[in-house]
Subunit: 315 residues, 3 copies
């Protein structure tokens, strides 16, 4: 999330009661989690295991729970006891949760020719392009941006909060939600099936590329980027922070793990599971998804075990 | 889709600016895609690979992008450059998309004893029988027909558009939706779980047979026919154009591919995948779904590979 | 379900036109199905195969379709021709289905700081604690109880009817719904993803333990008990009557069968299927879910079959 305008790091320090060290005169442009952080951004870290990653990331400002680190040139650390709570304080300040006063937010914008069917919820700062159809009982949560000629079938949810938690197992509530302040961007000519759910970015964006079509009950996790002209059949699930390049086809009930890449024009056959990145232009099958022809041959080999057994055991 | 009344093929030709050849005096009763076409219907074809199939189908009228075919006796061809666009023109003329003016369409019909809970959307030309319960936040899109004693749990979507596209990868938008003008028919005593989605037929109907029960989040694709007294557990997905005969049981998360048949009283165990037709009266398991006892034995054989290896490699 | 106050077994006998035998002077505290029955409860049985189980269960009162059983000391039988119909009569008397007169029931209770977003349905006898957010298009069906600091994302359904049927294949409608009179209890600090569905208990309760977090499109069956601080990724499905102990993690698209137990702190990897109970504290994978490291080794063994084949067949 970018702030409405850059803010002095001193002001941020005061807001979260931090001790500041390093470049104390700089201005902060926004806040992002570590996978999405950009130059000028704040990031937070509360575990020594990740100190170095955060200090050496694109982030210029690091909220951290120690002073005993060497600060890279030109960067700033903001030292607090509870960096996660400081993150929540900043997000709540700049993007507070506002209970909806009406079913369609007064600042919603919809282009010419767009049809909003009954029982649709539209949250704050949502924009919808031209010639779209938003079917009944759809929820478009805040900060969702929709292009032209987009169709969203009934009951779909766009912009639900990221499934992303701060985890500590030494407290009564192990998982504390990292409050989402990101968004969803749906490009032109996308179609989204009935009952699909697309989470918004934690701090950045979830993006669905132009011309992509999804069948019913497809789940897209936070901060995932889907390319152009992809085709996802029903009940596909894609976890967070993943990149699906252009022209990828995922058949029914395929599951894709987080923060990996599926290359352009890859095809993944029904019910396959993708635990790690796949090169583009090939057809995959099974769990873990592998070259489909190899995997099919494996199924044949399994059927030959009894014959092998007989030969070996009976001489 | 049948037209309200038969229409002269000359009139259709004028509507889509087609050159007509063959039997130019005939009347057209409706329009259907190739899998569902009936005598008296129009069908369209735009790829030479499918010319013969369409010319020799039940269709009496073929919208086509060539004159160089031999027209079967008594049939008519309508020649245009873009048959797919002609299809859209005809569908839009006879069944235009009408933005809903109200949450429950003024032409909706519900029988005695039927309860419609709050936040339910009902589109045009929907009929509901007697003693049904339609739970909150359900969407019944246009042209859905529901029998007696039907229960639809909260959040379900009936009659969403078919996931069916005209595909050409040499244009910016690869997939163009073949606009649905079909319907959903739900027979007596059916129960549909929370969050289920049932797509309507592209041009014909999706049908759920009497007494069939579905658990939550079941997906049924367009033009699929489900028999009587079937039982589908949660998160089952069935693709389009498939036939599930009477008394079939599909356990949780089973996936069924398109345009195949599962025979009467078959049972498919949880998480199995069905890529091709299955005979009735048996129990199936795994991917691809096979006789369950054979498949279970395969799992045992796999566990014996290390023993086999030892025997062979160590002599 | 407990009755509002204990009721004489004579009164129940009159309601269902039963002949009573055994302890005819006792009072009945409630009605429950056999998996959940407690002392003082009524239960019903209509198949000789289950007569003994029911007579010797915790139930003090048994609705049964025979007189030819020996009645355990102090217990009562209520003899009718159709025990299932008698069950429905009792449930309908004490918890009749009431069509909702409004979108939010007039007896709904919500604590301080709780936000109910637009298009939410709230049925009768629902209580919601403090500082909760109920997102748009959520359905909270009757008798749902929600703790403090609970977040329910858009489109979720809590309290849909159990997928639980009286089955007889010698009648036109094979499956008759056992009308649900149970409830859902969601403890403090739970978060439920967009499009999730949680069925209520048939006669008892479905419970989600404090601090548990669910991603989108998770399905929880009737009468299932989920412990504290569990984490369920998207598209997980859990059938009815199952016990998930504290701290269990289920990754995406995992399926869990009915009436089994997964022990505390178990982890089940993505797309696995759990057909029977699993001990706590371990990581599982595959179908049927087994120790993940063993299962991974199996995948390696399968790849070695061709080498084995070559060695054996070619000498």
């Amino acid at each position: 999330m970018k702030f409405p305008a850059p803010v002095s790091v001193q002001w941020i320090g005061d807001l979260i009661h931090a001790e500041i060290a390093g470049n104390t005169a700089a201005s902060v442009s926004g806040i992002n989690e570590i996978h999405k952080v950009e130059k000028g951004d704040l990031v937070f870290v509360d575990h020594p295991k990740y100190y170095e990653t955060c200090l050496n990331s694109e982030a210029d400002f690091i909220i951290i729970n120690t002073k005993d680190v060497s600060i890279p040139d030109g960067k700033t650390i903001l030292v607090v006891d509870e960096p996660f709570e400081a993150y929540l304080t900043i997000v709540n300040h700049f993007r507070p949760f506002v209970p909806a006063a009406q079913t369609i937010s007064s600042d919603a914008v919809a282009g010419e020719g767009t049809v909003i069917m009954p029982n649709v919820f539209i949250g704050p700062a949502v924009t919808i392009g031209k010639n779209c159809v938003i079917h009944p009982n759809v929820s478009l949560l805040g900060y969702t941006s929709i292009g032209d000629n987009v169709v969203i079938q009934a009951g779909a949810v766009i912009g639900s909060d990221a499934f992303y938690y701060n985890t500590k197992k030494n407290r009564p509530v192990w998982y504390k939600r990292m409050q989402s302040c990101g968004s969803v961007v749906i490009e032109n000519d996308v179609e989204i099936g009935a009952g699909c759910t697309i989470d918004r970015g934690v701090t950045a964006e979830t993006r669905i590329g132009a011309g992509t079509k999804m069948d019913n009950m497809v789940h897209i996790g936070h901060d995932t980027t889907v390319g152009k002209n992809c085709l996802f059949a029903a009940q596909v699930g894609i976890a967070g922070g993943t990149i699906i390049e252009d022209g990828v086809t995922l058949w029914g009930q395929v599951g894709v793990s987080k923060t990996l890449t599926i290359g352009a024009n890859a095809v993944v056959l029904a019910q396959s599971g993708v635990p790690s990145s796949l090169a583009g232009g090939k057809t995959y099958f099974g769990y873990p998804a592998e070259d489909a022809s190899l995997k099919r041959r494996e199924l044949v080999w399994i059927k030959r075990i009894p014959e092998l057994w007989k030969k070996v055991m009976e001489g």
